[in-house]
């Protein structure tokens, strides 16, 4: 194997309050495909951002061919042959592929000789099996093609090391297949490919070596022949026993929400939900695990009336509520804690009172035909703030000044105060600390005891196992698997999340 091309030694990266990377060592050889595996928050993206020149490490050093280098910017990294493809592509959409690539060249002629340039690009791309149409406008390309343009741009700048941040998160199976094909060609051409992922099947399908991270530390480095699913899961998840909260069992209740083979489009106009079906009963928490981007947002928005379905039915307590307006869903008792707390669930600039009545200001108790009943609103707000023990200096304060935990608590309080029949909760503890997480979880369990049906959408398996009565997995716009929590097996769920369950097993290109 020889000497590693890149040697990262003792990399530490601290953010205020968090150690994202804790003395990480990583070796990268030319010609290998190296997977960086870990759950969200394990520090893999941070580590690669350090390597790509976006972040400066708090401690540790980077050696390229044995020589220590310091990167001040992504351009320094590129100059040393390291380029990164981010999840959000840095392409200018209305420009052509060739224009986007030539734009990045540091020494270029005044006149664009696009005809000649496009010809060169095709030939250059062919070397790596990257076929692109250089004269196509970027916005016309599929996500997979855009990704190829990013890769081509990095290679064209002379990079030998290509970092890809969760490259398959946005790809179709066919595109994934093509990408893997290309990556193998690149490795054969002598490049090093580092790809960040949390999908086990991809590691198995592609990686020559894998480094597993957990909590900012390396938990293992495996060679190709050591890669084995169970072992990876253990290194990645590292959990032995999943603790349940102490809770009373609620007997089988009536069906509250029934979704039958629903289709809906995502924001890009592509299928987001593909014939999704599920049932939630009163007094039960259905936990849907799954990797982000598999229809989480679309599902929640369909239930809240914010997104139209193209097929299928949604029933609430027996009534067909398909494609009713958000207001009508609120009136029928649907509570919704959206994933985007600051952008949708709350209005950061407005004060706490305004935020607390967002969902109920139309209720006769809080407003007449014209005027708001500000006293009732004030009383209600005070009562909620006290009941949920949120410490605030004044109700007049813009809500953005509160901590994330307090914001989420108030958001939940507001939704709960409407006495929902059904509560949809998406990533409820994202970005919260341990204490706040606990508080949010307790609120959800209390709500369950009051026989509300709860749909919990989360990527955090711990959370799902702690709270849910039944567990399913959201994958490619469908619910796959349905377990009672007692019978559910973490590894099996993990496999389903990774999309490698039986039946979908062969969706990642075999080697």
């Amino acid at each position: 194997m020889g000497a590693p091309f890149i040697k990262m030694q003792g990399i530490v990266k601290k953010f205020p309050g968090v150690v994202a990377n804790d003395h990480i060592d990583l070796d990268i050889y030319l010609g290998e495909i190296h997977a960086l595996l870990g759950e969200n928050g394990s520090g893999k993206s941070t580590l690669m951002s350090v390597l790509a020149g976006l972040y400066k490490p708090t401690a540790g050093k980077i050696l390229i061919n044995g020589v220590e280098k310091k990167f001040g910017s992504p351009r320094d990294a590129i100059a040393n042959g390291i380029g990164m493809v981010h999840q959000h592509f840095k392409l200018v959409e209305p420009l052509t592929v060739a224009e986007n690539i030539t734009m990045a060249e540091r020494e270029g002629s005044f006149w664009l000789k696009l005809g000649k340039y496009e010809h060169e690009l095709i030939q250059f791309g062919a070397k790596y099996g990257l076929s692109v149409n250089p004269s196509a406008l970027v916005w016309q390309l599929s996500v997979g093609e855009k990704q190829r343009v990013e890769i081509l741009r990095i290679l064209y700048q002379g990079s030998q090391v290509l970092i890809l941040d969760e490259p398959t998160a946005v790809l179709t199976p066919q595109e994934t297949c093509e990408l893997f094909e290309n990556l193998r060609t690149m490795a054969n051409e002598g490049c090093a490919v580092i790809f960040i992922t949390h999908k086990l099947n991809e590691v198995q399908a592609l990686a020559d070596r894998v480094t597993v991270l957990r909590g900012g530390k390396v938990t293992g480095v495996l060679q190709r022949d050591e890669i084995e699913t169970k072992r990876l899961v253990r290194l990645m998840v590292g959990r032995d026993v999943v603790s349940h909260y102490d809770r009373k069992n609620v007997s089988d209740g009536q069906i509250v929400l029934e979704i039958d083979r629903v289709n809906a489009l995502n924001d890009m106009g592509l299928p987001g939900l593909n014939g999704l079906s599920l049932v939630v009963r009163e007094g039960e928490i259905l936990g849907l695990a799954g990797v982000a981007g598999n229809g989480q947002r679309e599902l929640a928005e369909v239930i809240a009336g914010l997104r139209k379905t193209t097929m299928g039915t949604v029933r609430l307590r027996g009534e067909d509520v398909t494609n009713l307006s958000p207001l009508e869903m609120i009136r029928r008792g649907v509570g919704y804690v959206p994933e985007d707390r600051m952008g949708m669930g709350l209005i950061p600039e407005l004060n706490i009172t305004d935020n607390l009545v967002l969902k109920c200001y139309q209720h006769p108790r809080f407003s007449g035909r014209w005027l708001l009943n500000n006293r009732e609103i004030y009383n209600k707000s005070t009562q909620l703030v006290e009941q949920y023990q949120v410490k605030i200096p004044s109700l007049e304060q813009p809500i953005k000044l509160l901590s994330g935990g307090n914001m989420q608590r108030l958001l939940l309080a507001r939704e709960i105060a409407n006495e929902p029949k059904l509560m949809v909760v998406v990533y409820p503890v994202r970005g919260l600390d341990v204490g706040a997480t606990e508080a949010v979880h307790k609120l959800l369990l209390e709500l369950r005891l009051r026989r509300t049906a709860i749909l919990l959408i989360s990527e955090d398996l711990d959370e799902i196992f702690k709270l849910a009565d039944r567990v399913g997995v959201l994958s490619r716009g469908q619910v796959v698997g349905d377990f009672n929590v007692e019978d559910a097996d973490v590894e099996e769920i993990g496999l389903l999340m990774a999309g490698s369950a039986k039946g979908v097993e062969n969706d990642v290109c075999p080697r």
Binding site: F15, L54, Y55, K56, A304, G305, L306, S325, P326, L327, E328, M329, I330, Y336, P338, D340, G343, M344, G345, L346, I347, E349, L350, D354, V357, L358, K359, Y361, Q362, S367, R369, W370, L371, L372, N374, P398, K400, L401
Partner: protein
């Protein structure tokens, strides 16, 4: 950045800066325009002194200041309603003219109506016409997302030309020595004034409106909805609000208020419809609305300040200084306030050299 200066977004807009920025802006604007005055050979202090003395130093000046402030207040109140929802209705000028135009129709067609029918009739016509003039931009914005800045603006020119057509044509007073004016309204169509001054009860319209808007913004469901939609359309949709309908109504109300301003001006001041009824009140009002941070009470104060500038500008003409010096100062005030916003929303930190290097995280 080469200079080790860093802008740090403030969590809360600085309250001190909120007061300081407009005050300092007025002073800086006067200095800035003073430079131009000085370059062109005039003593800025003398010009400003003459302006302020003229506008504030006599009963006549003071009452004229209020007279000028009335249409400014009304238009700015109308504009503020739309701006609260981030709708850039800059068509107050046209809505003003059309309001005046519609109000004129009544006394010209039925000159003998009694005052208690005439004035309310004219008010209603002014309101309705102003709303109608905002209708098409509102419709195009709500339905096809056509930029309301351009449409409201183009409608300003169309409205003014429409008025010109009528006063130069069908409505021209046959006894008016060929001047482009309509006949003078019957007394019943003239808004009552206070004492001998020209201050008419349009000021009462404005103050009542201030009260209504204060209540509406703070205590009404509608005010709450504009607040939410103006801040976050996504949150509004999430809360089940009808955003398109709100856009529509807000534009109509905004237009109606400017239409009322036109009615008040034609009935309270001019007594007849004539070209040049507004020396750009509708545009000046945009600045007033912005400077007042869309607060109705502040609009009253800022309108009075701008009344001073307008009257002062008018009076310094006797010194041979063009009246446009007023809009120059107004534009400059806006520059400084807009630029000064950064001090309200950001705090400016001088980064030490080391900090500047390790930035970027």
């Amino acid at each position: 950045m080469f200079v080790p200066v860093r802008l740090e977004k403030r969590l809360v807009p600085s309250p001190v800066m909120r007061i300081m920025v407009p005050l300092v802006s007025v002073i800086m604007a006067l200095v800035f325009c003073g430079i131009f005055l000085a370059i062109t050979g005039r003593d800025p202090l003398e010009v400003y002194a003459a302006m302020f003395a003229g506008a504030l130093g006599s009963a006549y000046g003071l009452s004229e200041t209020v007279v000028k402030a009335i249409p400014l207040m009304l238009c700015a109140l109308g504009i503020s309603v739309a701006f609260r929802m981030q709708l850039w209705n800059i068509g107050a000028e046209g809505q003003f003219y059309i309001g005046a135009f519609a109000a004129t129709w009544l006394p010209l067609t039925f000159p003998n109506l009694p005052g208690y029918v005439m004035i309310p009739g004219m008010i209603l016509l002014g309101l309705a016409a102003g709303a109608m003039w905002a209708f098409i931009p509102a419709y195009l914005r709500a339905k096809s997302n056509v930029n309301e800045i351009i449409t409201t603006l183009m409608f300003n020119y169309v409205g003014i030309l429409l008025v010109d057509y009528f006063v130069y044509g069908p409505w021209r007073d046959p006894k008016g020595l060929n001047f482009p004016l309509t006949a003078r309204f019957a007394d019943a169509a003239i808004l009552p004034t206070f004492g001998a001054s020209r201050i008419h009860i349009g000021i009462v319209f404005a103050l009542v409106l201030v009260f209504i808007l204060l209540v509406a913004f703070k205590y009404s469901r509608w005010g709450y909805e504009i607040r939410v939609i103006g801040q976050s359309e996504r949150a509004a949709a999430y809360a089940g609000m009808n955003i398109q309908r709100s856009i529509f109504y807000v534009m109509l109300i905004s237009g109606a208020i400017s239409g009322l301003a036109g009615m008040a001006e034609v009935s309270g001041i001019a007594g007849r419809l004539q070209p040049g009824l507004s020396p750009g009140y509708g545009y000046t009002a945009i600045i007033i609305a912005w400077l007042s941070k869309l607060n109705p009470l502040a609009i009253v104060l800022v309108s009075l300040l701008f009344g001073v500038l307008q009257v002062g500008g008018y009076l310094v003409q006797t010194f041979g200084v063009p009246a446009t010096v007023a809009s120059m100062v107004q534009g400059a005030i806006l520059f400084f306030v807009v630029g000064g916003e950064i001090f309200i929303n950001y705090s400016i930190k001088i980064a030490s050299r080391k900090e500047a290097l390790t930035e970027n995280d």
